[in-house]
């Protein structure tokens, strides 16, 4: 029996493609088994995912707005906690702990936020997580370009770590997506 790549099956499942559409998954397996190339298979998988996400976003615009708002509300709540915590005496005495918290905020918290968005929008989770991740990416690009313009205009400032900032922003978006896609989607009935 031909099997489709596990990563493709995982991606298709997380993006809600086979839910209520087992026949499409069966067709993909059948065609791959009858000699279709891996390139054909991946093209079909990507089109199926894009189709499913686009349909969910088109049919649930308000839900997408709610997903973005949910993600940013969770982020804002964490920023408040961090603001209060950073003023505490404890951090000055234990810099290592402060650095750990910084990396938690940078890499783990976005994943938790992505997971929360997925959890609260289970029926269309891939589309909603992608909508929120897109808003994070846009916000990062905006902040980075503003910061870069400031740095360029400032004569006395030392050159900033532009590349590092860019990598960190990409990690933030990636972490959001990983967190969101780790959540198992709710099965839809068709």
């Amino acid at each position: 029996m031909t099997k489709i790549p596990a990563i493709a099956e995982w991606l298709l499942e997380r993006c809600g493609v086979p839910q209520g559409n087992e026949s499409l998954m069966g067709d993909l397996v059948e065609e791959r088994g009858s000699g279709r190339s891996a390139v054909w298979f991946w093209r079909e998988a990507v089109v199926a995912i894009a189709d499913s996400v686009a349909r969910d976003l088109r049919d649930h615009k308000l839900l997408a707005v709610r997903a973005v708002a949910t993600g940013w509300a969770v982020n804002l709540a964490w920023a408040q906690v961090m603001g209060v915590a950073s003023r505490h005496e404890l951090w000055r005495r234990h810099m290592g702990l402060y650095e750990a918290l910084f990396f938690f905020t940078l890499l783990v918290w976005p994943a938790i936020t992505g997971w929360v968005v997925a959890r609260t929008h289970r029926a269309q989770q891939a589309a909603m997580v992608l909508a929120y991740a897109a808003s994070v990416a846009i916000s990062n690009i905006w902040n980075l370009s503003a910061h870069y313009s400031e740095m360029k205009a400032c004569v006395q400032c030392t050159p900033d770590l532009w590349d590092t900032n860019l990598v960190l922003c990409c990690l933030l978006v990636l972490s959001t997506l990983v967190g969101g896609f780790l959540h198992r989607p709710q099965r839809r009935t068709s």
Binding site: M1, T2, E22, S23, L24, G26, G33, E44, A48, D51
Partner: protein, 105 residues
């Protein structure tokens, strides 16, 4: 239009493929039929989303077949054009013939 729907070109191609393939019409042969006869490459997911749309309009109906080993234990979904679907295809054909008349190509 008589039946009250309007078909886009892909919907029309899918309906025609269903009529040609009946009663063995499911995703793979439908996509192949469109590729062979209409010389148009179409993704399987696009075929399914079109079929889903046509089914919601009542122009096609579907039933699950048996799950097979070659499909990883997943069942085929067979599609059939309904009476309303046939009327819709005829109506679209008439509209196209009417529009072609007098076109100098």
């Amino acid at each position: 239009m008589a039946a009250g729907h309007s078909l886009n070109d892909l919907e029309l191609l899918v309906l025609l493929a269903l009529m040609r393939l009946a009663p063995e019409a499911y995703g793979v042969p439908i996509a192949r039929e469109i590729e062979t006869k209409a010389k148009r490459s179409v993704a399987l997911s696009t075929v399914y989303s079109t079929l889903e749309r046509l089914e919601s309009k009542g122009l096609v109906k579907s039933e699950l077949g048996e799950a097979t080993e070659a499909r990883g234990g997943r069942a085929k979904r067979y599609f059939q054009v309904t009476g309303l679907g046939v009327r819709e295809v005829r109506s679209t054909r008439q509209a196209l013939i009417g529009m072609w008349q007098g076109v100098p190509v």
